[in-house]
Symmetry: C2
Amino acid sequence: MTLNPLFPTKETLGLNTDLYELTMAAAYFESGLTDQLATFELYTRELPKTRSFLIAAGLEQALHYALNARFSDEGIEYLKNLQVFESVDRGFFDYLKDFRFTGDIWALPEGTVFFENEPILQVCAPVIEAQIIETYLINTLNVQSMVASKATRMCLAAKGRKVVDFGSRRAHGPQAGVLAARAAFIGGCDGTSNVLAGHELGIPVFGTMAHSFVQFFDHETDAFQQFQKVFPDNTILLVDTYDSIRGIEKALNLNMDFRGIRLDSGDVGELAVTGRKLLDQAGRQDALIFVSGNLDEQKLLYFSLRDLPIDGYGVGTDLVVSADAPGCDLVYKLVETTDDGKRVPKFKASEEKVSYPYRKQIFRKVKNEVMEEDLVVGWDEVPDSSDQTPLLRQFLASGRLVSELPDIWQIKETMQQQLSRLPTPLKHLHSTEVYPVRFSEQLQESLKKLTAEYT
Amino acid sequence: MTLNPLFPTKETLGLNTDLYELTMAAAYFESGLTDQLATFELYTRELPKTRSFLIAAGLEQALHYALNARFSDEGIEYLKNLQVFESVDRGFFDYLKDFRFTGDIWALPEGTVFFENEPILQVCAPVIEAQIIETYLINTLNVQSMVASKATRMCLAAKGRKVVDFGSRRAHGPQAGVLAARAAFIGGCDGTSNVLAGHELGIPVFGTMAHSFVQFFDHETDAFQQFQKVFPDNTILLVDTYDSIRGIEKALNLNMDFRGIRLDSGDVGELAVTGRKLLDQAGRQDALIFVSGNLDEQKLLYFSLRDLPIDGYGVGTDLVVSADAPGCDLVYKLVETTDDGKRVPKFKASEEKVSYPYRKQIFRKVKNEVMEEDLVVGWDEVPDSSDQTPLLRQFLASGRLVSELPDIWQIKETMQQQLSRLPTPLKHLHSTEVYPVRFSEQLQESLKKLTAEYT
C-alpha cells in the first residue's frame, strides 16, 4: 500500500487553495467578467495583542506560487468530478488548464517592519486570477511574518546573546519547520537546528547532542568522551541528564577541551550562574554556556536583565509556533476594480471589519534615522514631502518577475536596518505604544462617502 | 533566478531533521555501537492545560518517513562540507549513503484517545537509526494530534452541527493546511475548504463565496444571482458584506432557490436568530444558516447551549493552529537498550523531567463500554485481567510495513468509537477530571531503583 506524505508539489500548486476560490472563479468565468482588472490588498486588521510591530516575511514563497500555480489534467479531472462543479460550464475547466497568473504584484520587501491596516502585498490582475491565488499568499506571508517577528522579539530580549531556532520538531509539519527556520533567521536568529533549512537556504546549522545520547552510554562521562573524540572542536556537553551540577563537575574532571555546556532543565538561570563559577574555577573561562528548554522571550529578557552568564539560547516550540500569537488576522481584500478604464472603489462595511477602498501606497517618514509616521495614501496621491520613499515595490509585472530577489542574508540586513529605525518604546516586549499609521484624507473621505451610500 | 518554494521532497527526507540527530549518529557510528538495539518512546509529559485527552494522529506520515528516509549524494555532499563534520570519519558518510530504517515501530492506531506519559509510538531499532528519525516523527505526530483533538473539542461543542475546516490560509505553511485538514477530519470535522486535502485524501470539500465576490459586483444582488446561476444547488450566500440583515432581505427578495446563508461578522448568534425568522417568514424553512469568523470551541458551545438556529460552522485559525495549545510537549525518549541480549533500562532524572525506564505496553480497562483506567506496564508484564487489550500495535517489522493502514474514514470511525467510551466528564470543554493512567508497580520500582543509584 502507498503511504501519503502529503508533500506540497509543483504539480498540485493549483489545488493548494480553498474551494471557494475555485467556485468564485467559475462564477466570474461564467459572468464573462474574467478579464476585468481587480486590485486586492493583503494586510492585518490588527496586530496581535502581544505585538507592537511585525516583520514582513514569506514573499519569496508567495511569488513562487504566483509564478507557478497551474492545474494539471489530473487535478482538473478531480475537480470535474466534484458534485459542486457538476452544473458548471465545461469551458471553465479549459480555462483552468491554461491558467497562468498574468498580473502585477507589489509588496513590502521581506524584512520590512509593518503595522496594522498597511497593505503588505498588492495584487493587480484579472479578478479571476487574483482570486485563485488568495489562499496560498495569505498562508505563506502569515506564518513567516509571525515567526520572523517572534524571532525579533526573542533576539531583542536576548540582548546580543546568540539565539538559535531549535523548534523543527514542534513546528506544524515538516515544511513548517523549514519555513520557521527561514523566518527565524530573517527575524534575527543566528541559525537553526533544521538541516534541510541549512541545505536549502545556506544558513548556519547548529546542534550537538540530546539526552538520549548521554543515556545510551553506561556512564555520562563515556558519552562526553565519545562525543569529544568525534567532534574535538564542537563539543557542547548536555549536562542535565541526571544532575546538572554533577554533570558539569564530571565534564571538568575529564580534563577535555570541550567547547561549552548546555543546560536544558531545572532553574537554568541559577544553574548558569553556578555552572559559570565551576567552569571559571577550573580555568575554563573560555567554555560557553548555552541554555534551552521551553524558553520564550519573557525568560530571555529576565536572564538578560539579571545579566546572567549565558552565551546563547536554543529556542523551540514558542518560537516556531509563534506561541503568543499563533495566528494573525491577515486578510486579502478587494479594494478596487477597473471598469472601462475607470477605477471603481471597493470596500467592506460589516461591523468591525471595515476596509478602506482603492489601491494604496505607503510612505514612511523617517527623521534622524528614526521612523516617525507611516502615511497610507491612494495610488494616485503624491505625499506632501519629497523625503519619503514608497514602501511597496513591484515584484511581478504581467506575471513575470521584474525585481531581483535578495538572498536571506540581505533580507536579514534589511530587517536590522529597519529595526534600528524603529522607535525604542516599540521594541519593549510589553510595549503599549502604538506606531502612528495615518490614512490620507482622500482615503478617509472615500470610505466615508461609500459607507454613507450603503447605509 | 530560482525562487525556492521550500517543499519537502522524498529526495531530501534524510536532511529533514535536527543537526544533532546527525552529530549523535556520527558519534554512535565511531563508537562502533551502531547496531546496538535501542527502544525510544514518544509521549507527552503533560497534557496542555486546556485539554483532558488527546487524539493520536499523524502516524501514516511518520511511517512514510521511516520507510523512505534516505540521504542523496547531493545531501551527503552538503553535510561533508559542514565545518562541524570536518573531523568525522568519512566512513560515516558511506553509512548515510546506505541508510535505511531497519527497525520495528509500534504505535497507537490513529484516532486513539491518549493521555500524558503514555507512549503513543515506540521505535525498536539500532540506536543510530532510531536517533536519526526522531525529529520528523515528533513533528508529524505532534501537529496532527493537537489539531485532531482540537477538532474533537469543537465537534463536541457543536453538538451535532456540521463543522468544517476553513483554516488553510492561517495554517503554518501550505503543507500544514493539508495536514490540518487531515487531522481535523480525523478529529470529527465534516470536511475542509482545502482542495488539495480533498484531492489527496478523498474527504469532502466545502466552500462557496468570499466577500470579494460580493464586492466585485456593482450590487450585492448581482453577485447573489450570478452565483446562483452557476451553482443552482449549492449556493450559500455570504450576506454580511455590507449589512447582514439587509443582505438576507435582499436575497429573499430575489426569490431564488439558494441553499442557505453564511454569517461571518458581527454578533453572529443574534444574527442567526433574526436570520432564521426572516427566512422562515419567507417560507424558506429549508434554507440553512452557516456561521464563521474567528470561532473557537467556547463560542460553539455558547451557541449550542442557547440552541441557536445554526446548521453548521466554518472554523479557521483557532482550529488549524490549535490556538489554545499550539505546541504540545511531545518528547522521544530512550527507555531501553539491549546489551549482549540483556535489556538495560534507560531513564532521565533531571528536575521535573523524569522518564520511566523500559519498553512499555498500555492496557485499557473498559467496563460497560466506558473507559475506566489505563495501565502502563513493562513489555514483559502480563496485565492482571484477560479482558484488557493492548493499545500499542506493530506497524513496522525490520523496516517493513506489516499492518495494513486504515483509510481516513476508518480512522474517523476509530476516533468515534473511542470517544463514545470516554467518560463523559472528560468531554466537557472545561473538564478538571484527570483520567487515571497507572504505571505498574514493576515500572515504579525500576524508576525508584535507578533514581537511587544516580543520586
